[in-house]
């Protein structure tokens, strides 16, 4: 149990800037930033904030997620972001990660990024690792987070931060073309072993996000009759207070097919990842208490939308061994007619301090995987 996660240190918006300038001012701080260097305009924001304070004390691993047949303007935007980030941060390593196997087109990105992190020569003097989720996909960001968390928990004195530059309106403009079948995110397969005496009772918690109906239908289809109940996750409170209503309308085919009613929705904050973490943890606990002994209770997460909500779900998945299923995207398009297009409101910035000596007063966590040694 990571007891500190229920109330771990978080900052929002301007407070993130204050935290960075205050905390990283200390000359002993050496930081490695892990970030996506793709077409997403949010790729550079966290890096720029960190560099402003850290300067040469900042190193980076930039991840280029390579997918087949990218739209030309998106490739150009990604090249530009990579170039600017490399110019900004002196010691930069760029990892080009093929999301799909060149041999048979199967999704392999999760394995590849973990191999890359394992092969990276982690400097001995680092004190902080910042994982910038802003421009990373779930299939890449989640395994990275798990790998880094394991590493930090095995090594004394290392701090692990997650930062996100989130913009749900911009998210809706980025349209992915989903692969044809779902898969478990690397390192998040959960445990589906039930017994005949205690059959599996699976609740699926899909995070509803605009433009992702096909993705969720594919995940649903793959589960067949294994799903006992569907409890969609909706963003509330949210910057647009009607966002949840709009999503319910957009997803009505799926919701009516599954017999979802108003009591089945889980509302989580669009801004604070701890809200989704706490609610999922509470749900897991209550479900285990209610059906344990008669059934094998399990929650299946599909955090495919807002990064902030997804990070909270990821924390719950790590803490409780929950499986996370998603559908990788073959390619992306930026569709300015959807969402807010190019006139999106400002980003929401979030900082989450997941691990570090600051929490040494709490009991040490039980690691879920054999920790790698950098």
């Amino acid at each position: 149990m990571r007891e500190h996660w229920r109330a771990c240190i978080t900052h929002f918006d301007e407070m993130v800037d204050d935290f960075i300038s205050d905390y990283f001012r200390d000359e002993s701080r050496r930081c490695v930033l892990l970030a996506g260097a793709g077409f997403d305009p949010r790729s550079r924001r966290i890096a720029e904030k960190l560099h402003a304070t850290l300067g040469a004390r900042l190193r980076a691993i930039l991840v280029r997620e390579e997918r087949a047949d990218p739209a030309e303007q998106l490739r150009a935007a990604a090249d530009d972001n990579e170039a600017r980030l490399s110019a900004l941060i002196a010691e930069t390593s760029v990892e080009s990660v093929r999301i799909f196997s060149s041999e048979d087109g199967a999704p392999v990105g999760g394995q590849r990024i973990v191999e890359a992190l394992e092969a990276y020569q982690w400097p001995d003097d680092i004190t902080d690792i910042v994982l910038d989720f802003s421009a990373l996909s779930t299939g890449i960001g989640f395994p990275m987070a798990r790998y880094v968390l394991n590493m930090c928990e095995a090594r004394e004195g290392l701090n692990f931060h997650i930062m996100i530059s989130s913009n749900p309106e911009l998210d809706a403009s980025i349209v992915g073309e989903p692969y044809d079948s779902p898969s478990f995110v690397r390192g998040f397969s959960g445990d589906f072993t039930a017994t005949d005496d205690a059959p599996l009772a699976l609740i699926w918690l899909p995070q509803l996000a605009s433009g992702r109906l096909t993705t969720l239908q594919r995940i649903r289809s793959a589960q067949g009759d294994a799903i006992y109940k569907v409890c969609p996750i909706l963003p509330f409170p949210a910057r647009n207070p009607r966002r949840a209503d709009d999503l319910i309308t957009e997803f009505s085919p799926l919701l009516s097919d599954e017999g979802v009613d108003a009591r089945d929705f889980l509302y989580v904050s669009e801004r604070n990842p701890l809200d989704s973490y706490r609610k999922l943890s509470t749900l897991k606990k209550r479900y285990d208490e209610t059906v344990g002994g008669s059934f094998t209770p399990q929650l299946l997460l599909s955090p495919i939308g807002s990064k902030v909500m997804a990070v909270g779900a990821m924390m719950a998945a790590i803490e409780h061994g929950l499986p996370v299923q998603h559908v990788e995207n073959l390619r992306y398009d930026f569709d300015p007619t959807r969402g807010a297009g190019t006139s999106a409101p400002p980003d929401l910035t979030v900082h989450l301090w997941l691990h570090g000596p600051i929490y040494s007063g709490y009991a040490p966590p039980q690691p879920n995987d054999s920790p790698p040694t950098p």
């Binding site: 196997s101 394995q111 394992e118 395994p143 798990r146 067949g224």
Partner: protein, 635 residues
Amino acid sequence: MSNPFLRRATEYIRSDSAFLAIVTPEPLTTFVANHPQKSALLDLPVRVIGSPGSGKTMMASLVEYRLVEAVLRDQSSANNRELAAALTRSGFIDDDRPAVAAVRLPMEAEYRDYWELPYDEAIKTKLVLSLIQARAILGLVRNLTANRLRTGDEVTFVFRDGASASLASIGGRDTDAILRRALDVERAVYSVGASLLPPKLDDVPEAARAPYHPFETIERIQISWKGETIDLKPLVILDDVHALHPDQFDRLFRYLARREVRVARWMMMRMDALSPRAVFRSRDEEPLPGLKQERDYIDIFMQTDSDRDADRKRFRRMASAMADRYLPFVRPLRERNFTEFATLLSEAVPALSDARREELRSEIDKDQRGLGVAQERRQQIETLVANYAKGAKSYDVEADVQLAMVRVLMHRYVNRIGRPSLFGAEANPDPKKPLKADSDVAEAARLYLHDKFGRAFHYGLATLCDASNENAEVFLQLAGALVERMETRAIRNQDPALTPAQQQSALEEKGTQIVEQWSFPYARNVRTLIDVIAEECRKMSLTDHARLGAGANAVGIPEADMETLLASGTSLAETLKYAIAYGALVAVRDYGQGSKSWCLLELPGVVCMRSGLTLRRGGFLEWKLDRLAEIVGHS
């Protein structure tokens, strides 16, 4: 539940009895019971190949032991008796007793992940094989005990002669011990594949590394059935093996093709797992070098390429039966006692309004004047058409269609005499080739009326079935769109039966939606190609003299050129492969016409409905390969 036509049954049917109420045994009868090598289907490994929605998973689910037992236990329903008959013909039931213990294992993405482990290929294959075998054992016993007619202790495994050495590796003779061992192996292997960082080889759990070959050890399963002991042949069905890496599948398949393997094994897969040549059913294709089809393994393609007309007829029967099974799940229709889907699709001949008919007459008169056709000639043509209409099989040759037929034949007449007469209507030469009014001209006439006057063209159950290209899922989606409208009408206390115009509108909209939602590799390129083919077919189909009769809905590439392309490994070959595998095009090889051999690329029914093209086969545009490459290359 909302419209059940629009969902895959396997998704929402939670109870076996509900599943049995809607499942159709037709694929089992067609592809298994009537298979020329039926007797070997439980001895040799079998690849069952079909496009998405062809019914592979439904067939695999139907033959699972627990469902076969449920069918036999309740023969009071006509539906179950029909299912039992199909299962008997397919060899799953013998003399009212189950003969096969089948279990279906979905080959999900997690199996593919094992191929990414940093181990030797032999080790990676061994891990996957152990996982499959462990899950097969657990699944078999789960199936045999699912209906609570026996417990696990009452299931006995019978081993092949000479298997005593390998018995220890599978847990011994005792069923409980065999199950415990299977569970240990499953957990051990799963932990290796699911971990974030794969363990070093020496750290792989012992249960995953040790030899484990139940498939080579177990020959039969014995259970008690109505007081007597019966033997069951175990059958493991690996569903969606196309998800495996090709090399992984090759190794797996070669293991399963070994003679030492005693359990029956079927592998369900999509066509896109095959090479372009295999998808296009090239005759001399050798997908598994060293293994010979029919000797070492058997292929079942869930789409025959021999008698397409017989396929269509068979599918019409199956689809109609399937729709009737689904209809009771639509409450507003059930409450009003509608039990037959066909009766809700009116086939009353669509008629133009008086005003539109006048407009049609004026058009034809104008054409006659413009072409310089003599009145006498026109009357001859009208007589020709009237005589045809009297003897036509179709009911849809009433006044409107006959008028439009006259128009087509007048244009053909002028074509055949060389040019419009310079002497006006007085000259009335006979055409080089006599004019003929036939069903092709009638179809061309209907197409013209649809294009010009919006007269319904696609309606009726037979059209709906034909537009589905023998794919159950497409049929259900199209039927579902119609059922939605029927439901709405029923709720409003209107007659739920849809007129041809209403059917046309719903089918056009649904066809468009289906095409827009295509999501498979190269789908964008395929959509572009389809759009160009459809547009050019449309132009040709609407020529005044209807050169291709009923019209075109395909392009033909010289057969020899196609064969070269399929072996080339280019992205065009891959694009076409996925188009065929996902039903976005239909390939017809060695189509003979005009003393040449063609490979036809036919547009699927949903595109024909969207674009107002005929569903009749045979009309095609002659294209060269360069044209295909140009369109796909620019998309």
